[in-house]
Assembly symmetry: C2
Homo-oligomer: 204 residues x 2
DNA sequence: AAAATAAAAACGAACGTTCGTTCATTTTCA
DNA sequence: TGAAAATGAACGAACGTTCGTTTTTATTTT
């Protein structure tokens, strides 16, 4: 019999996950403070008091969520395995992988809004401290080894890369229900990445 | 005697502004739902009930704020007056003007977070509908007349432009208290705009 | 200019509701 | 058979809003 690596989840673990899933849905829809413990309990399918067998407080639910849904869990490791001959290939692949992991609805991006809007960035440093140390070396290596890069500052390159990703999803949310969305190219993300790589100005 | 263009503000107008100013500060710090009417009243320097002589509800305060602080009020008109021989000059100037109007602390950007996080984009369409119709023609003209542009889709160009601005402020907020901020170039916005204009890849 | 007056503004107690959390108890699970 | 999990009533606190009243302001009339 192998050492117990992954037993069948216990009842408590199932409930705990159900609470987190319910809370995510509600937080994304109404925000953190406008979501009540009663709503969470109802959607998770248990009584109000039952939540407190798995979480000490409402805050702890949110913290549990941002830990479980944190990009360093799945997205970052996947992105770090991106490959490519040139810097351009590498970054294109990295974006593709990140998008695949983020999925259609970028839960983490929206959680970031909530965190910034309702917690004033209280958990922000935690979020960043997990990502930056892992990602920065990649961009440092990129700058050093790929001569095809115009940008020589790794931190700036990293900021620009993540900024591009974030701004894509934000503008997507903002324009998704407007006529502007219909004016976008077929693959807006490809076009977006292309601008990041080559800029908007035609080289003379 | 000139037609009455701007009389001295009445008492009510002064109080109304004081309430909005107090509310902005608190909303930016704690978010909308975590800010109470009592906090707003206290900071504005009047009694709880007094607020309701100027606003019908808490929601109406927020709406009053996003109308007063809306970019189409001051930022957009200023940006639309940007000039420049080439598209690059024009866009560089536009960014400079936008930054000057946004100021050090981009209140509108943070209000946008609150709106997205706590109102699920309820006012979003209003925000966009005011900006897009006014800004899009500028980018259309830009694409048509400036042959130096790689990007031919005006809507994409506009989205990319605003996305770049937004992502600059977001990443600034995120990294401002981390070591990454110290790794940035002297003028990060200039470097950021440069990437937007020319991309990160060196043309062969 | 002073007095009168009606509207606007300010006040703070009070209302009904909802909030997050606790608790004693019962049920389910290992 | 003990521990873990689930229950829902209960608690005190805080919420947005209302209300009757008083004070201040702005305008009109002396």
């Amino acid at each position: 019999m192998p050492a117990k690596t992954k037993e069948t989840p216990t009842k408590g673990e199932i409930t705990r996950l159900a609470v987190e899933d319910a809370a995510i849905e509600l937080f994304l829809e109404y925000g953190y403070h406008a979501t009540s413990m009663r709503q969470i309990a109802k959607r998770a399918g248990l009584a109000l008091g039952g939540i407190y067998n798995h979480f000490k407080s409402k805050d702890e639910i949110f913290e549990g969520i941002i830990i479980d849904k944190h990009p360093y869990r799945t997205i970052l490791p996947a992105v770090l395995e991106a490959e490519g001959e040139s810097a351009e290939d590498f970054l294109r692949n990295a974006v593709k992988i990140a998008m695949r992991e983020l999925g259609e609805e970028p839960v983490f991006i929206k959680l970031m809004f909530i965190e910034m809007a309702e917690f004033n960035g209280k958990h922000g440093s935690l979020m960043l401290k997990e990502i930056a140390p892992k990602a920065l070396p990649i961009f440092e290596k990129l700058v050093k080894t790929r001569k095809s890069l115009r940008v020589s500052n790794p931190a700036l390159l990293m900021r620009s890369f993540f900024g591009m990703m974030i701004s894509y999803y934000i503008t997507d949310i903002i324009i998704s229900k407007s006529v502007i969305a219909k004016l976008m190219p077929k693959n807006p993300m490809d076009a977006y990445v292309d601008i990041f790589l080559h800029g908007i100005i035609k080289e003379s």
